[in-house]
Subunit: 389 residues, 2 copies
C-alpha cells in the first residue's frame, strides 16, 4: 500500500467537476478544532455566502456534512412524517430517489411521472395537488440524469397555492443556472459541492424557509434521521446563544467549500452564470455541427449538463474509454433507461471554460471517427470558436 | 469575504487531532471521478486497509461519507427495526446518543446506565440480557466524553451468548488502543477519521460481520436512513459485478484517509499503539506531579483521552483560554454533567508525540499558576521526561 497519486483527469461528466488549484490548496490548510473561535467565524461566513448564493436571505442555511444526497434526505426526512401525503414529480433518477426516501419517511407518496428528458409539467402537478391536499411537493430543478431544467418558480408557486411545502433539488443547478429561493418562494432547497461550485464532493448546502422551520417545529414524531435532523444541525451551526455539539464538522472540506464560494463571488455570480451559458452554446454548436443530437428539447436544456444521444451503430462505452485513454477526459454515461443511449457531458464550474469545450470536441470527434461515425471535428471546432469569447 | 487562513493550532482536545503534512498534502491532490477505474482501485485499497486495522478479515468494511456519528447511525438504523429490543450501555455522552438513535429507529430501548467515568459493567449488562432477549447490545468501547475504556471482548461475548448482535463504537479507540473485531467477535464496529487516525473529520469507517449482514438481509422494513443503508452502500463499494451508484464518494477526503492508513501501517500498527501508551504514561506522570487527578480509575483509562479533574477554585474556561492564547494549544472542555469539571486532553495520532507532551505540561502549568494553583511545572516535565523515549 503506497501513497495514492491520482492520474491527470479532465472532468466533464455529471460531477465531480474539475476542482481549481486554489480550492485544492484550501483543502490542505492545517486542520483546526470545530469549536475554535476562528472556525466558528468561518462557519458564519459560509452560512452568509450560501444565503447569498441561494438568494435566501430569510432562510436558514447550512452545509450538511455529507454528499448532496444528504441534502435530499434531510429535506424529505425533516418535512415528512408517517401518513403525510407527498407529491413528487419524477422526470429522472433523482426524482425517483426522492420518492424512495419519502416512502422511508413513512409518507404516502404520489408520484407524477414524466418521460426521462422532459421537464416537469406544472399542469400535471397541479391536477394532483387539486385532487387532494399534500404536505409536500418535491421536484428536481436540474435533473442530473437527463440534463432537463424544470420551471422551479411555477412549481414552487403551485405548492404555495395548494398549501404544500416545496422541496427543490438544486444539486446540479446551483452556480450553473439561476437559483432564487426568495423569488421562487421555495421552502427547502439544497445542493452539492461537486457540480457547479467545483469543490470536491462531500457537502450538501441546504436552505430552509421560515414555513419549513415552523413545520419541523410542529412535528409529532422525531426526525428519523439523526445526522440530518435540522433542529440538531441548527443548534450546532446556529450561532445564537452558543453551539450545541451535534457532529464534528468536516473542517477541511469546509475550507474547500469556503474557497469555492470566495472564487465564485470574486468572478461574480452573474458572470459565472453567463460563462456557463456561453460555454454551453459553443459546445452545443460544435456537437450539432458534428451531427450529434441532444436528448432534451432546446428550451429546457441545462447549460451545465449536456445529454447527447449516442448515434446508431456507435459503441458508447468504447467512445468513453477512448476519450479517457487518449485525452484523460471523463464524460458520463447514461443512467437507468438512458444507459447506453446518451453521454452526459458536464460544463460545470471550473470545467466550463473554452479550453474544455475545445478539448471535448476534439476528443469526441476523434473517438467517433474511430467508430466509423463521420463527425466533422474541424467544422465542430469552427462552430464552437465562433461562439467562444 | 476572503480566503480563510487558519491560525496555528496544536490540537490536544477530544478530536480533531493534528493532521500530518503528508495527509494534508494528499487532500490537495487533483479530484478525479468516483467511477474512474483508478479511484475504484483506491476504494479497494481503503476497504482492505480498514479490514486490517479493525482486524476484521471476514467483515464487510467501508468508510461512510459522513462524520463518525454516521457510523453510529448506520449501525443502529441497519440493525434495528420498529419493535426490536435494544440493550444499550450508557456511560457517557455517546452511549446516550446511541439510545436516542435507537428510539428513532423505532426500537424498544433498554439502557444500562453508569456513572460518567466508569467503564461499562458486564455483570449489569448480563442481568438485563438474561431478563429478556434483545436483538442488539450496543456500547461505546472508548467513551470520548470521559476517557473510560470498556471491556469490548467481554461485552461482545455476552451479546453472542445471549443471541444479540453487538454494536461497538470505536470512534476514539481505533488506532489508539487495540481494536480486534475478529477476536471480540463483534458484529458492527465503526470509527471516525479525526481521532487516532489523524485525518480530518468527515468519514466513518464501519465493519459488519456476516451475522450482521444476514440480519440486514432479513429485515421486514427498509432501513429508515437512505444514506446509511448498508445494502445500498455496499452495492456502491462492493466491487463484485460492478458498482451501483448510491452517492458521490467524497474523493479528496478519501485521499486523506488513505494516506493516513498508509502512514499508520508504515509506522506499524503495534508501534502506533505502543506510542500512544507511552505518551500517555509520560503525560499522566507529569499531570500527577503537578497535583492533578484523573476522572477515570487507572485500569480503565484510555491513553488517547485524558480526562483531568479541574482543581477546586480554578476557572476551567480561563485555563483553556490561556493555553489557546499563549500556546495555540487546544484542549477540550467537559460535556454534559462533566461541564466545568474536567479538561479532556487528547493524545491522538499525530498529536501523540513527546513534543505534544512537553508543550501541554508547560502550557498547562503556566496557566494553572496564573490561576493561583501551585503546579510545579518543572517537576512535571521531569516526571514526563523520565518516561519519554
Amino acid at each position: 500500500m503506497q501513497s495514492f497519486q491520482p492520474p491527470r483527469r479532465i472532468l466533464m461528466g455529471p460531477g465531480p467537476s474539475d476542482v481549481s488549484p486554489r480550492v485544492l490548496a484550501a483543502l490542505a490548510r492545517p486542520t483546526i478544532g470545530h469549536l475554535d473561535p476562528q472556525f466558528q467565524a468561518l462557519m458564519e461566513e459560509i452560512k452568509a455566502a450560501l444565503a447569498r448564493l441561494f438568494n435566501a436571505p430569510d432562510h436558514a442555511c447550512v452545509p450538511l456534512p455529507a454528499p448532496g444526497t444528504a441534502g435530499m434526505e434531510a429535506a424529505i426526512m425533516n418535512l415528512l412524517e408517517p401518513g403525510d401525503r407527498a407529491v413528487i414529480a419524477v422526470n429522472g433518477a433523482f426524482g425517483g430517489r426522492m420518492a424512495e426516501m419519502a416512502g422511508r419517511a413513512g409518507a404516502e407518496v404520489v408520484t407524477v411521472d414524466h418521460a426521462w428528458g422532459e421537464p416537469v409539467d406544472p399542469a400535471r402537478v397541479e391536477e394532483v395537488l387539486q385532487a387532494a391536499p399534500a404536505k409536500v411537493l418535491a421536484f428536481v430543478h436540474a435533473e442530473t440524469s437527463t440534463g432537463a431544467r424544470s420551471d422551479a418558480a411555477a412549481l414552487c408557486g403551485l405548492a404555495r397555492r395548494y398549501g404544500a411545502l416545496s422541496i427543490v433539488d438544486c444539486v446540479t443547478s446551483l452556480g450553473g443556472v439561476a437559483v432564487d429561493a426568495a423569488a421562487w418562494d421555495a421552502d427547502v432547497i439544497y445542493s452539492g459541492t461537486q457540480k457547479c461550485l467545483s469543490a470536491p464532493p462531500g457537502l450538501a448546502p441546504i436552505a430552509l424557509s421560515k414555513a419549513a422551520q415552523a413545520a419541523i417545529a410542529g412535528r409529532k414524531e422525531k426526525v428519523r434521521n439523526w445526522l440530518c435532523d435540522f433542529t440538531l444541525l441548527m443548534s450546532y451551526w446556529g450561532g445564537e446563544g452558543g453551539r450545541t455539539y451535534h457532529h464534528t464538522a468536516p473542517i477541511n472540506a469546509l475550507y474547500g467549500l469556503h474557497e469555492s464560494l470566495v472564487a465564485l463571488f470574486e468572478e461574480g455570480h452573474q458572470a459565472v452564470l453567463v460563462r456557463h451559458a456561453r460555454m454551453h452554446e459553443a459546445l452545443a454548436a460544435g456537437l450539432e455541427a458534428m451531427g450529434l443530437k441532444f436528448l432534451v428539447a432546446e428550451p429546457h436544456r441545462l447549460p451545465q449538463l449536456n445529454a447527447v444521444l449516442v448515434p446508431e451503430g456507435v459503441d458508447e462505452a468504447a467512445v468513453r474509454a477512448a476519450v479517457l485513454e487518449k485525452w484523460d477526459l471523463e464524460i458520463g454515461a447514461g443512467l437507468g433507461p438512458l444507459k447506453g443511449k446518451v453521454w452526459r457531458i458536464g460544463l460545470m464550474g471550473a470545467s466550463a471554460t473554452p479550453w474544455h469545450v475545445r478539448l471535448c470536441l476534439t476528443a469526441l470527434g476523434q473517438a467517433l471517427n474511430a467508430q466509423g461515425f463521420a463527425a466533422d471535428a474541424k467544422a465542430a471546432l469552427a462552430a464552437a470558436e465562433a461562439r467562444l469569447p
